[in-house]
Structures are given as C-alpha cells and as structure tokens.
C-alpha cells in the first residue's frame, strides 16, 4: 500500500515538473499582453477573436470571465486591466460614471426571447402560456442580471406576475439555459444569443419582448497600461471583417463597428478564415450584417467615440 502511494506521489511530481516546463515554454511567453475583463456570456466568440488577434498582431489577450457587474466591482477595487467587455449598457454607464473607462465601442445586440426545449413540447406561444400551471418557469434576478433588468422594464406588471409564478430565479441567463437543457425548467426568459449557444434549446419571440434589447460594448479602461493597443483590440473586436464575422458565426448579432482597414495582409488572411472556422466546428454564415438601425435607441455614449484616441490608428503605422 505504502509502495503504491509512494509511486503515485512520484508520478505526480514528474507530471508537475513536466507540466511546469510545458507551461514555461508556451509560445505566449514574452509577447505583449492585454488584460481583458469579459462578460461570461460572450466567452465563446471572445476566445476565438483573441486567438485571431494573437495571430494577426502577436498580442496575447489574457481573459477574465465573470458577470458584467461583478467584473465592474472587481475593477473598481483593483483598478487593474486594459479592457472591459460588458454585456449590458447599465454596467458600461456605471463604469463611465465612475471614470473607469475612457472609450466605448458597441459590439453586440441581444434580444430577449422565451427559451424552451427543442420542439417546444409545452407549446408555449405567448406570454400568458408562461403563467400556466404545467409550465415551470425560470427567471433571472432583476437586481443583478441585465436580462432581468430589461425584462422588468418592458414587461412592467406582467413581470411581477411572472415573478410570483416562477419556479426559480437564478443569477445569470446561462444558469437558466443550463437548467432548461437539463429539463428542470420548461421555459425561461433569456437572451437570444444565450439560447443559440445551447443545441437543445429553441427561442420563441413574443411581441411583449420585442422592444427588449441590450447592447454589449467594449471599453478601454483608464487603468490600461497601453491604451493604444487596447483600443486597437477593441476596434478589432467590433469591426465587421474581423470580430464581427466571428460573432455572427457564433450566434451573436454584431452592431457593426468601423471597417477594419489594415491593408492586403489582413485581407489575404481573411480569405482562409472560412476554412479555419469550419475546422473549429462552427457554421460559417459570412460576415455579419451591419445593423445599427433607427429602431434601436442609441445611448449617447454609443455614438462614434471622440477624444484623445482618434489619431491612434493613423499614428501606429
């Protein structure tokens, strides 16, 4: 028994040493880095975009995922990091009010839907179906999650009725989507983009939620060590040719940032993007449509950024 324990310990030791070497010799050592705080719901596209950005510009993004407001809380205390990708406007508003971000670029538009299991077994068609006794309804906390805040705003009294009927409230829409997949819930009000991340879910649009939209945006933090580089990544994320196409392919609706003009090198690079995407197991839907249409209420801070970084793009090369 003792012998086995000893050899197991020795194996563990060897694994640690080897692991340590692999970690040290990782290709990322020594390259410039950006610390990105990213809303957990946008993990999938963010990872792909960060990988592309590393290939294109040799900058490694170190990404910290969490709920938008909790990320903001930690930035408030630590005053560290280069970029914040927040899933909702109110978090970015707060960040601006607190003087934590200097420039903000819109990235993704999300809409509220009723998510149900694929095939809609409970035949949910309208808001009143959610109040039926045989429907186990899940909602997000309106205090903490942006989806809850938006739903409460657009639904008004209906929200209170739903809340009284709900089987459970959870802190994030991702939690609810997970529960729907497991079958512990029959319906939940979540973002369309979250529903599209789960294969066995279906999104149902209902008229009462039509006006419920939210813009996710990326902001350069005042604590950024290299604001020019951080801004470059923010624009890369939002531009239709670069981040936008990845967002579309992963089920998000990009707002359509500025065109990415980086010359021939990048265009050639884009040509083989389709293959790489399909290799990674995603369905290629082409570059996303540029939508920032009139029916969406654009808050003042989402308008084209002006200020100290306007000349950065020109100065860089």
């Amino acid at each position: 028994m003792k012998k086995y324990a000893l050899s197991a310990l020795a194996l563990l030791g060897v694994a640690l040493v080897v692991g340590g070497f692999i970690y040290r010799s990782a290709p990322t050592a020594g390259v410039p880095e950006l610390d990105v705080h990213c809303a957990a719901g946008l993990k999938k596209p963010m990872e792909l975009i960060a990988a592309e950005f590393l290939k294109d510009y040799g900058v490694q993004a170190k990404i910290n995922y969490g709920g938008s407001s909790s990320l903001l809380s930690s930035i408030r205390i630590s005053k560290k990091g280069d970029l914040l990708l927040a899933a909702d406007q109110s978090t970015m508003d707060d960040a601006q009010r607190l003087g934590l971000v200097q420039e903000v670029i819109p990235v993704v538009i999300q809409k509220l839907v009723v998510a149900v299991a694929k095939g809609n077994p409970k035949e949910i068609q309208q808001l009143s179906d959610l109040l039926r006794d045989d429907v186990r309804l899940g909602l997000v906390n309106a205090e903490s999650a942006s989806a809850g805040k938006v739903a409460r705003r657009v639904l008004g009294d209906d929200w209170e009725r739903l809340l009284a009927k709900a089987t459970v409230t959870k802190p994030t829409v991702t939690d609810l989507a997970g529960d729907l997949s497991l079958g512990t819930l029959d319906a939940a009000i979540i973002w369309d983009s979250t529903a599209s991340q789960f294969k066995n879910l279906e999104a149902i649009t209902i008229p009462q939620l039509a006006s419920a939209q939210e813009v996710a945006s990326i902001g350069v933090l005042t604590s950024a060590k290299d604001p020019a580089r951080a801004l470059q990544m923010a624009r890369y994320l939002a531009a239709p040719e670069t981040g936008g196409s990845i967002l579309t392919a992963t089920g998000f609706q990009p707002t359509g940032g500025d065109k990415w003009s980086e010359g021939e090198r990048l265009l050639a690079h884009r040509r083989d993007q389709k293959e790489r995407f399909e290799e990674a197991g995603f369905r290629w839907r082409g570059n996303g449509p540029t939508i920032l249409s009139k029916d969406i209420e654009v808050p003042p801070w989402l308008k084209r950024p002006t200020g100290q970084f306007d000349d950065v793009q020109e100065n860089r090369e």
Binding site: S70, S73, R76, T91, N141, V168, P171, L182, T184
Partner: protein, 267 residues
C-alpha cells in the same frame, strides 16, 4: 496561556511560548486586518439599511434555520459513520475513507449540478413527489448537508480515534451490550467532539453558496441565504451592502460558534 508546570524547566520554556504566541498573534492580526479593511467599505448606515431590508431579514432567518437543521442532521450521520471508520476493521476501509472525502474535494458548483441531475432521474422525480427538493428550501438544506456532513464525519472519526476502546470493552465484560456500552461509555466521552463536529458542520453550511445557487437557485424570499445575498449585491456592484452583509455573517457566526463551544466545554 502560560504553562502550569512548576519544575525547574519552566523558565527555559518561555522562548517557546513567545514564539508560538507570536505566530498566533500574527495570524489573528492578519484576520483582524482583513475584516477591518473590509469594514472601511461600509458605514453604520449601510449596516442599518442591510438589517432593515426585508429580503436580508429573510436571508438571515433562512441561513440560521437551514444551518441549524444541517448541523443536527450532519451529527446524526457523522456519529455512526465516524464510529464505523474509527473502530471497524474491514476490507476496503481505505476506499471507504477516501469516498467520505469526495464532497470535500468536489468543486461546489459540481455538487449543485450533480444534485440537479440526480433529481431529474426517474428515482429522483419519484422522490420529489413526496419531498420537493429542486429549487426549494429542502434543497438548500440538502446542498449544505452534503458538505457539512463530510466535515462532521472527519471530526467524529478523529474524536473516536482519540477515545480508548478499553472502557467500552470493560463495560461489555460487565454485562453491557455493544449498544449500551457505546451509549453509556463512549458517547459521553465523545461529547466535546460531537459539539465541535456540529459547529464545524454549522460553520461550513453558513458559508455554503455554490451548490445552493445551482440546485436551489437565488429566489428572493424563498431560497436566498446570506452568501447568496452577498453574491447578488456584489454582482450589482453594491459593494457597501455586500460588505455590510458579509460582516454581519461574521458576527453571527462568531456568536453562534462561541455559544456552541461553551456549551460543549461545560463539564
């Protein structure tokens, strides 16, 4: 704090007490500074506001209620299991021992997810016909119990390890059955250990949060316990309230733990 010994070596042990005293003082100072620096993030006004909020009052009550039930349940399970692992000799004992630690090793969220999946199985659904678990207060207790009981079992096991089996055996030669010997000899000796097992289970449950969030949800006025409140307040960026509720938890926990221990120490 000083040793009672009166022999000639007493003077030479002074440096020893100074060293370990310094280590203890530094450690306590660290915890003190930790709490004090957090306290600067909240004001008495935040405390009052936290105490007045209906949701927080409910969370305080629910936390106290569920933790107490969990502590009692954990003890009921920990005494027999602790006794078995301590006194019993059987094949595969080291595996049983390791299995008992699984709830301690598993990440909290995973425990919640496992529970959620368990009650989706046919057996689980059947059970929920009688006692609903998923998204309910019962679920809060079950989630706390899984981790709390594992710690209580550890404590009971080492308690029984430190009680000699001889008095129990003598009682049996004097005509006691095994039941009687354990009840009249060993359990009274294990009294302090039982109090500390219960208080460990209680304290663990007080901080439990991951599995509760997944399995019972964060429904206000229903399954929201104090750690959930802290998490919700923190995720809205309301640092002041989060800190106020956290410190409130510390105060409550210290008071309850001191009370349990002092009852346990009483001869």
């Amino acid at each position: 704090m000083s040793p009672k010994s009166t022999d000639h070596r007493a003077a030479s042990s002074l440096p020893f007490w100074i060293v370990i005293g310094t280590i203890a003082a530094t450690y306590l100072l660290f915890i003190g500074v930790l709490l004090a620096s957090s306290a600067t993030y909240s004001s008495p006004g935040d405390w009052l506001r936290a105490l007045r909020a209906r949701e927080i009052q409910y969370a305080i009550w629910l936390s106290l209620f569920t933790c107490t039930i969990t502590a009692v349940l954990s003890l009921l399970v920990a005494v027999p299991i602790g006794y078995l692992v301590s006194r019993g000799q059987f094949r595969g004992k080291s595996w049983v021992d390791a299995a008992l630690d699984i709830p301690i090793v598993l990440p909290p969220m995973v425990i919640g997810l496992c529970l959620l999946i368990l009650f989706q199985t046919t057996g689980g659904r059947w059970f929920e016909e009688f006692i609903p678990m998923t998204y309910t207060v019962n679920g809060v207790i079950l989630a706390q119990f899984i981790v709390g009981s594992a710690f209580a079992i550890r404590t009971m096991r080492s308690t029984f390890d430190h009680i000699a089996s001889r008095p129990e055996e003598i009682a049996m030669t004097l005509g006691c059955s095994r039941w009687q010997a354990v009840r009249m000899v060993t359990l009274p000796l294990a009294r302090r250990g039982m109090f500390s097992a219960a208080s460990i289970a209680w304290a663990r449950s007080m901080g439990e949060f991951g599995p509760i969030l997944v399995f019972a949800g964060a429904t206000r006025m229903k399954t929201e316990v104090l750690p959930t409140t802290v998490w919700l307040e923190l995720s809205v960026g309301n640092l002041e309230a989060a800190v106020a509720v956290s410190l409130l938890m510390v105060v409550m926990a210290v008071v309850v733990l001191v009370a349990i221990r002092s009852i346990g120490e009483r001869p």
